[in-house]
Symmetry: C2
Subunit: 243 residues, 2 copies
């Protein structure tokens, strides 16, 4: 069988993986992923072949996975969170587009907006939008437009990739856009290192969020007009009528 | 300890739960949830007390959970998907607002947009918005506004609760709104009974989606301007430049 599993491991601790993800890893011949995730599953992959490529070389990694799959090996590509949300699943379909004989199975995991929301309280009880601030492959104008319209629509907004060395002020710029439609007192939260050592979260207002320094391991959630703080947690009610 | 776990079990099969969810269930004294989910975890809850309430009586269920927790019992409230996404987590924080001594721990699960996306291919590789069509607690005008602005922003849109007996034509109305900004050829997918018997999915155009009959167990994903079909799967590229 020519098969590639694209597996989301969830937020970074072994107990937050699903049994389905673990089974797929055990049923694969070859495993690929960043070292951190390989380490997390090392008890499950003894004796299996492992290959890795440096960060940002995702396409090379997919091509290598394809090569192995064409040889009849079952390949597991593992990543954190959900491999379908800003993950490898899309790229692997694109790389394998000329090879319909390759079976691709995407195994979902818990993505950062869900694991982050659970730490903050319950901010995603109502409609929300998920936006990445990375402009590596998307024009910044498109990102700005989405931030503006999502704010106008009163979505809870969850931000992935809020910052990097080259994009140190992007979260601040995003906050300024959201402030066109969201109140400066809107409750927000941010979470670092979800599910692993150094996990921390904080709740601030949208105005305060502007000045918060975040890194690429941070996920940010901005409330909607109904979001409030209850006993130190961020909670969006499930509707606009009273409980 | 006065503790309530609010646990998301994921898309409905035992192997899609996380070990963390299973551990929390095993560490609880009392379990509550709909029969279907209780059945799914029955091997893990032998000898534990179980209580349930009819559908739509979520607030009563939360109040009962609070009552047990105040007695010093550890309560597990289980539900499908992620308990934080249109789930019970928000309500439990609201119901317990006067009782800060109750510890609430939300344990995330895989929500339907992620499990549904994995079946369809990789439609959520880029920014997306999640919208419920239920107007039970939200004015329809607010839902319409979100559909319109999310379409204008070129989000992939994931729809929860697309229909019910009383809302048979809501998906059609939503499609008509999205067609203001999305092409009628936009690739879309819908998934029924994710992760359980009767699981099925289909890929159609946005124009065709208008006439599709869906039920409350269906999740719908509408592509963005970049979404395409590759080998029968729905794929959104991760950016706007070439691979």
């Amino acid at each position: 069988m020519k098969k590639i599993f694209v597996i989301g491991l969830g937020p970074g601790s072994f107990e937050q993986m699903t049994q389905r993800a673990i089974n797929a890893i055990e049923n694969s011949d070859i495993i690929t992923g960043y070292d951190y995730y390989i380490e997390l599953i090392k008890d499950k992959i003894k004796g299996k072949e492992i290959f890795s490529t440096p960060m940002k070389q995702e396409i090379d990694r997919c091509k290598k996975a394809l090569e192995y799959a064409l040889q009849g090996k079952t390949v597991a590509m593992v990543s954190s969170g959900d491999s379908g949300v800003y993950g490898m699943a899309g790229i692997i379909y694109q790389v394998c587009s000329e090879y319909p004989e390759i079976e691709i199975e995407v195994i979902p995991g818990i993505t950062a907006c869900c694991s982050g929301a659970a730490l903050l309280g319950a901010p995603l009880t109502h409609d929300f939008a998920v936006i990445s601030l990375s402009d590596l492959l998307t024009p910044w104008e498109k990102i700005e437009k989405r931030l503006l319209l999502a704010s106008e629509a009163d979505f809870v907004i969850c931000i992935y990739n809020p910052s990097s060395k080259k994009r140190a002020d992007y979260l601040k710029r995003a906050c300024e856009i959201m402030l066109n439609f969201k109140s400066k007192d809107t409750p927000c939260g941010y979470i670092r290192n979800i599910g692993r050592s150094g996990e921390e979260y904080n709740i601030v207002t949208l105005y305060e969020l502007k000045e918060i320094k975040v890194d690429m391991f941070t996920t940010v959630i901005i409330g909607n007009s109904q979001t409030k703080i209850i006993n130190g947690k961020l909670v969006t009610p499930r509707g606009y009528r009273n409980l």
